[in-house]
């Protein structure tokens, strides 16, 4: 009898322990209020301005100093590459190998997990309404694009492109006109390090899928000519080209013209094409090119060059991608402009309908890690472009000195309104370059740096209004030690009275960490403004 009792106790306990979904930090209730979701794209809006209006955040230059840490979540990944989608009560975030998480906005407990992304949620979390209700979209670096029911976390569809054998879904897609536009790069950037690999044959590109069904609608490669054998090494290994020209970053959509804009990276192998390190304008309905404007010619580079491998081109280029999406704002005369930041440290202003260059300005030394790396922002009303410069020591190709810091440029002519440079003479830790995407709001711009600092700059003159050192270990809501380090990749988000940022990035020589940090405005008028907004 005693034996039977023991079995009765032990067996259910054993089964519970074996259940993969049983986590101590799971919420007691997993209901989700899907109203008021934000933001609408990697770049906050379809124009990729990374500007959060007063309708979507109460944080501004007068109250930002009252931001305090609300809670920290210990991610499983040491290289977070996601950007949250936030509803009234839930924060959706990609934890790489741990999948897509739905976190309670107040407490950080987990409402559901989706681990169908085969281990690598690598994009911002997007949302759109389909016949299934609110649908979340994300890409997994090797597995493709996923659509997930926001209420339940169940996968609705999963798609991949068939045109490229080893695509890399690294950039965040954009939703527009019932379609999801997915930037495509290539795993060959890494395979090139294998000396026995015949580098390289694939092209980057842009793919369009039906957002409701996942059906592929069109695919536009960045290289149209097929790769051919251009040489051999080790007697047998064939070298191929042209190749590369990946699209690393999110596209930008202009609804009035129906045009999609995106930047490209370098050629992996020779011969270099006219489409590398360029800005593309494409008809979003058909996938036809409207124009392509190249800014750095002859740039051939792959990771084989980093290790001195035989796949490195004979005359490797500086690897000056467009890692940041181009953004669209109007200038003071009302003309629409397209503005793109390049890893060379340049900002280029273009006519979005012709590709004609209005002005170009170089701010930093540049290098294969930027220069301008993940993203820029703009405040159309203030007529300002906000440009974060990293200048992380990485093959800087110009004679300019490194100038990591924040720059505010006049939209009209690129003149510098103000700048706030990091003090690189006083570095006692990691390089404090501004590599991650940034976010702007009323009277301020917020940026994280590679040393783990995050700061709010005044839009007026660039003075620091608030700052916080995230390079520390936090007590987390899920009992996983949350350690902050380099702030890189997608950067901070402002929504309502919250500032959300992931700290730590183990990729490309940066400092790994796993802290998802949620700050909130504290103080009487913070709750008042929040209440006012909720009642609208």
């Amino acid at each position: 009898m005693k034996c039977f009792q023991r079995i009765c106790v032990a067996l259910p306990l054993f089964i519970v322990l074996l259940l993969p979904q049983a986590y101590a930090e799971d919420c007691s209730s997993n209901t989700i209020d899907l109203d008021n979701g934000f933001p609408h794209a990697w770049g906050i809006d379809q124009h990729s301005t990374r500007f959060v209006s007063a309708q979507n955040t109460v944080v501004n230059n007068t109250n930002v100093h009252r931001l305090e840490l609300k809670w920290a979540y210990g991610l499983q990944t040491q290289s977070p590459r996601s950007y949250p989608y936030v509803t009234k009560d839930t924060i959706f975030y990609g934890d790489s190998g741990a999948g897509l998480l739905a976190l309670d906005r107040e407490t950080g407990c987990v409402k559901w997990r989706n681990q169908d992304g085969e281990g690598d949620v690598a994009s911002a979390i997007l949302a759109g309404t389909s016949s299934s209700g609110l649908t979340l979209y994300f890409t997994s670096r090797r597995a493709g694009v996923f659509a997930v029911d926001a209420a339940t976390g169940k996968t609705l569809w999963h798609s991949t492109i068939t045109e490229e054998p080893v695509p890399l879904y690294s950039g965040t897609p954009i939703l527009a006109e019932g379609k999801i536009f997915v930037p495509i790069s290539s795993q060959e950037i890494g395979l090139s390090m294998n000396p026995f690999y015949g580098c390289c044959t694939s092209s980057g590109g842009m793919a369009a899928f039906d957002a409701s069904t996942g059906e592929q609608l069109w695919y536009l490669p960045t290289i149209e000519e097929p790769a051919q054998v251009i040489g051999r090494h080790f007697v047998f290994v064939e070298e191929w080209g042209p190749s590369g020209v990946p699209v690393w970053s999110a596209p930008t959509y202009h609804a009035e013209s129906g045009l999609l804009f995106y930047g490209t990276g370098e050629n992996y192998t020779e011969p270099a094409t006219l489409t590398s390190d360029a800005i593309f304008a494409v008809d979003a309905a058909t996938g036809e090119r409207r124009w392509v404007r190249q800014f750095t010619a002859g740039d051939t580079f792959n990771m084989g060059c980093v290790i001195g491998g035989p796949n490195c081109p004979d005359a490797p280029g500086p690897d000056l991608d467009f890692g940041a999406p181009p953004l669209i704002v109007k200038n003071s005369s009302g003309a629409t402009g397209l503005y793109a930041g390049q890893k060379s440290g340049h900002v280029h202003a273009m006519d979005p309908f012709t590709g004609e260059v209005f002005w170009s300005k170089q701010l930093g030394q540049g290098g294969y890690l930027g220069g301008i790396h993940w993203g820029i922002a703009a405040d159309e009303q203030a007529g300002l472009l906000y440009i974060p410069i990293s200048d992380f020591p990485s093959g800087g190709h110009s004679d300019l000195p490194p100038v990591p810091g924040m720059f505010a440029l006049n939209v009209d002519d690129g003149s510098v309104r103000w700048k706030n440079l990091q003090d690189i003479q006083a570095i006692d830790g990691f390089w404090p370059g501004l590599s991650a995407g940034i976010v702007a709001a009323q009277g301020l711009v917020i940026a994280g740096d590679l040393a783990g600092g995050i700061a709010a700059y005044s839009a007026q003159d660039g003075t620091v209004l608030w700052q916080f050192d995230t390079a520390q270990t936090f007590a987390s809501v899920n009992d996983v030690p949350a350690t902050g380090a380099s702030i890189d990749s997608h950067g901070p988000l402002l929504v309502d009275d919250l500032l959300i940022v992931a700290s730590g990035y183990g990729g490309v020589s940066m400092q790994p960490g796993n802290a998802l940090l949620v700050f909130q405005l504290v103080g009487d008028d913070a709750s008042q403004t929040q209440g006012e907004q909720s009642s609208e």
């Binding site: 090797r142 490229e164 054998p165 080893v166 795993q187 060959e188 395979l191 294998n194 026995f196 690999y197 015949g198 390289c200 044959t201 694939s202 080790f234 007697v235 047998f236 290994v237 064939e238």
Partner: protein
């Protein structure tokens, strides 16, 4: 078990023979990979790392280098150089080819697994050598023993 005359091979000779095989087979696999281009194109990596192709390259290399010797003499190249041979433990005659390939050769990958952290598997295989028959675990599995070659 019947009494069998045993003059087992020295352990150092077995280790050297094994080391020769461990170097030769992957080296030949590399050559085979270069010639065939089996791991050279993007298509090979379409479903992630091509473990199956690597496995078959290893098997093909092992058989090309050692197949004839195993069949006719119960030897690999390493054992040929060290004048050793694999025999059936019961009969002390040449071991069956199928046992050498489908049972004994399965353990050939262990030293390579040691390179990626699974060193204890090699230890487990070799710890059986301390028995009086001087037989590794793979010898027990295949029913074989190593003897000096004539």
């Amino acid at each position: 078990m019947s009494e069998v005359p045993q003059s087992t091979a020295r352990i150092w000779a077995r280790a050297v023979a094994n080391a020769i095989d461990i170097v030769l087979v992957p080296t030949f696999a590399l050559f085979l990979m270069l010639v065939t281009g089996a791991l050279e194109s993007a298509v090979a990596y379409a479903d992630g790392f091509p473990y199956i192709r690597v496995f078959f390259l290893g098997v093909a290399s092992y058989l090309i280098l050692n197949g004839w010797l195993l069949w006719h003499r119960g030897q690999t190249l390493g054992k040929y150089f060290l004048r050793l041979k694999v025999v059936n433990f019961q009969t002390q005659q040449k071991a069956d080819l199928w046992k050498l390939i489908f049972l004994r050769a399965l353990f050939f990958g262990l030293p390579h697994a040691a390179l990626i952290g699974f060193w204890y598997l090699v230890l487990l295989d070799w710890v059986f050598l301390i028995g009086k028959d001087r037989r590794c675990l793979h010898d027990y599995v295949a029913g074989t023993q190593i003897q000096p070659a004539d």
